[in-house]
Symmetry: C2
Subunit: 133 residues, 2 copies
């Protein structure tokens, strides 16, 4: 297949997510993890403060959001900006690299959201066959 070949050629990097010990696998997990992906997508919309993020990423706990933001900040995807106000105001925004990652994530999210009718129909077919066995 042409497309697959292109991808294989394009993937000639020193890093390989398929290799268990490659650090790229850890970063892929940070950006696609349960909360990491939604956090990046939320920040792709605009700069947000911690509590705004927490409301946007429905269901995340304070602890998990905090851990998620630390990992994304450490990987250079999110920038944390503390304003010298009282009380201190902390804004989170994407770095240029974070923006690039978030755009590709959003493209995946849009596809999944847009094709959920197909997914749900497939689930019904799958469960019907399994249930009949």
């Amino acid at each position: 297949m042409e497309t697959s070949q292109e991808f294989t050629q394009a993937r000639e990097f020193s890093y390989d997510v398929f290799a268990r010990a490659c650090p790229s696998r850890g970063t892929l997990e940070h950006v696609t993890g349960r909360w990491g992906g939604l956090t990046l997508c939320a920040l792709h919309e605009r700069t947000l403060r911690f509590n705004e993020l927490r409301r946007r990423v429905d269901g995340v706990s304070e602890k998990m959001l905090s851990q998620t933001l630390h990992a994304l900040e450490r990987d250079g995807l999110v920038h944390r900006e503390a304003q010298p106000t009282n009380p201190p105001r902390v804004d989170y925004e994407l770095t240029p690299l974070g923006h690039d990652v978030a755009e590709r994530l959003m493209s995946l999210v849009c596809l999944v959201e847009g094709r959920m009718d197909e997914v749900l129909a497939a689930r019904e077919r799958y469960d019907a066959v399994r249930g009949a066995r």
Copy 2:
């Protein structure tokens, strides 16, 4: 920001991954989960048998790969084809929807692999500041 607006407009679906109870969140987790993403990317390269997949997705256990494949099959992303041979031969391949999802995932994976030098440099800076405190 123009790009964000486009995405916001494009995201006018009935499904919303930001909502805790939306089924699209579960599907997003299947396709971006620890093993789901790598499995889809591996199958994007070509049709594979179970043991081939297990070798390609370095580090996955038999049990986890089996669970991952079931979830992806149920969501209509992977097709399981059992050949009537002895011993039975089972091939896994992407459905058209699975291909669309895998292409966007591969685009994300390529970006992460290609920018890992930046990520690792960011980690060093982050750890240096934290260590100095």
